[in-house]
Amino acid sequence: MRKVSKGIAPSALDRIVAYLENRRAKSMVKIGGLLVLLIVALGLPQVFSDPLTTDVAVLALLYAAAATGWNIFSGFTGYIALGHAVYFGVGSYAIALLAQDWNVPGGYEPFLLVPLAGLIAAAFAVPFGWIALRTRRHTFVVITIATFFIMQLMAYNLRNITNGSAGLSLPLPSYDWGKNFNLPLYSFFNLPFYYVALAILLLALGTAWWIRNSKYGLSLLAIRDDEDRALGLGVKTGPFKLIAFVLSAFFVGMVGAVHAYFQGSIFPPFAFDALFDVSIALMGFMGGLGTLSGPILGAIILVPAQQYSTLWLSDSGFYLIAYGALFLAVILLLPEGIVPTLRKLWLKWRASRSNIQEIPTAVTPTNGNQEDILVAEGPGRRDGVNL
């Protein structure tokens, strides 16, 4: 038999768990937790202000936003797109070309071009998405990869627009941003990028959250589970998939634009980077495909690992090997991703705890209220303990 905590006063842990079970408290904890996270995110660069850390933080936020955008399409519909570097690159080139043509000076102004760059990327996604989404499963994946190679070739070959492999450079961010705040130059330089990246991430996350809780999101999940049945039930699968695809391209395009401004220059192999395709997919898979927090968690784990390992490993070959090995480990050992696995563990742990409490409640029903018994019943039955 199980250990029965009969007659023993509930421990502090039990009390906390019982408190967390309360629904109102649950939402309070959730909102509070999110607020704390937001404050941490806002304050992070103020506390750790050395440029190396903020550099990594900016990239982590950018990748988190890109992975969240990617997840809106691939996570919800189950179509794994491996060509989102196209929209990253289009966003990068869009901001560079716009800044060049309109003579935008360095400073805050280029950030105003970021949404426009996102829209241009989204406009590119319409025809590409339309063609790719005529097919399914593998063929879809392969066509997204093909679009990536087409665009990379274009970036090399359309010399009058993209300047070929010589690349384009963006206006230099002005270095006196910190003057008004009496901060040393280097500590302030990354801050605008950090907050813009955070804003894009929040926008992407808000959109993903809204979609996840809307009827539209439900339709996307239905497409993931069984597209033909969803079509039969009246879900307009074609336009719905395309809208999700274009939305995800919009966010990835904005990320590309900020990334380009952050780096200061763009070249075809870095704007259209095959590793970017795999990176955001890996972040999604690692954190948990189709969850809201998964891609962000994946980015927060992966980007610092990437950045620091390129610093440590002098040989880029080792970096590729480590990356591939990590990818294999995640897919073979954690196929569902971190967030769903943790959720499962938490549910299991809770179920095992409620079983312990259940036996005394069965003996003396006056212990605990109605809700406790209801909560205890579910997992107990599932485990077959009570039957």
């Binding site: 499963r137 063929t139 087409i150 040989d315 590729l320 090997i321 090995a325």
Partner: protein
């Protein structure tokens, strides 16, 4: 007139070198047909095959074509291992996950070959008397035909004929085609689908080894070349129709001919783009490719 002759010469070269891509693409499409997975690592495996031939030739002075007798079985075993270690454990959502797994394998191969202690990232090229001596080509009716192109064409023809007999004339071939048509039904009538899958993967990788040797004689390559290769191979198998051997052959030749002709009449810069554009146009009309079947509902 000279123009026409030049174009005709390029068409012939395209057909001859198309055999190289046919080798690599038939492995890819075979694996897809039987196992329902796309081996994104095929490009990297081709490059690995090229490096193996390079090692044999540089260190042991073994002829490139003879070396295949060693590298192909070796790569076959490597294919068996990859299938056993990384593809078979995928139970859930195999189709999508296998693409990522094979991509990861490609990265590991690229990284290993590109280490400073192994080969580094410089271009290498395979050499032999029939590749780079001054009289390594002969002229027939005014057309210049390099020996290597002919040898490679003979090699691809031989291997593809062998593959044809294996698939259509042997008991293993029956099992293979049964697994292609319906995995579950094949299992029910007693085909060991897992064994067939493993061997198919091995054959696909062994073909990549041969393709790598052939590729290395015509093109300089480095560990990063696999991106370019896999993009072409993917386009070939989509154009031909996923899982269709015939489609892979036709599409390989079509692609090479179009590229060669474009680079002569227009410019080499746009040669690949023309082919990609053709792919997009064809997909608009026939999403399933030239010889493919439409993807129906899979249970």
């Amino acid at each position: 007139m000279a123009e026409v002759r030049l174009i005709l010469n390029e068409v012939i070269t395209g057909i001859l070198t198309g055999g190289i891509y046919a080798l690599m693409a038939s492995g890819l499409t075979l694996i897809f047909g039987v196992m329902d997975i796309i081996n994104i690592g095929q490009g990297a495996l081709v490059i690995l095959g090229g490096y193996l031939s390079y090692i044999l030739q540089e260190n042991f002075h073994i002829d490139l074509f003879l070396g295949l007798l060693l590298t192909m079985p070796l790569m076959f075993l490597l294919g068996l291992f990859i299938e056993w270690a990384f593809i078979r454990p995928l139970k859930r959502d195999r189709t999508m996950l296998s693409i990522l797994v094979t991509f990861a394998i490609a990265l590991i191969i690229e990284g290993t070959l590109g280490l400073k202690n192994t080969f580094g990232t410089d271009n290498i090229k395979l050499h032999a008397w029939y590749v780079d001596s001054s009289n390594a080509s002969f002229q027939i009716g005014g057309f210049v035909l390099p020996y290597i192109n002919i040898f490679v064409f003979v090699l691809s023809s031989a291997l593809l004929t062998g593959l044809y007999f294996l698939v259509y004339r042997t008991k293993f071939g029956y099992s293979l085609r049964a697994s292609m048509q319906n995995r579950t039904a094949a299992e029910l009538i007693g085909v060991d689908v897992e064994r067939v899958s493993a061997i198919t993967f091995g054959i696909g990788v062994a073909l990549a080894a041969a393709g790598g040797m052939a590729f290395g004689t015509t093109t300089a390559f480095n560990p990063g070349s696999h991106y370019d290769l896999i993009s072409r191979l993917l386009v070939i198998i989509i154009l031909g129709g996923m899982g269709s051997l015939r489609g892979a052959l036709v599409a390989s030749v079509v692609m090479l001919v179009i590229e060669d002709v474009t680079s002569v009449v227009w410019t080499p810069v746009w040669a690949t783009t023309v082919f990609f554009a053709l792919l997009v146009i064809i997909l608009l009309v026939r999403p399933q490719g030239l010889f493919g079947r439409l993807e129906g509902r899979k249970q």
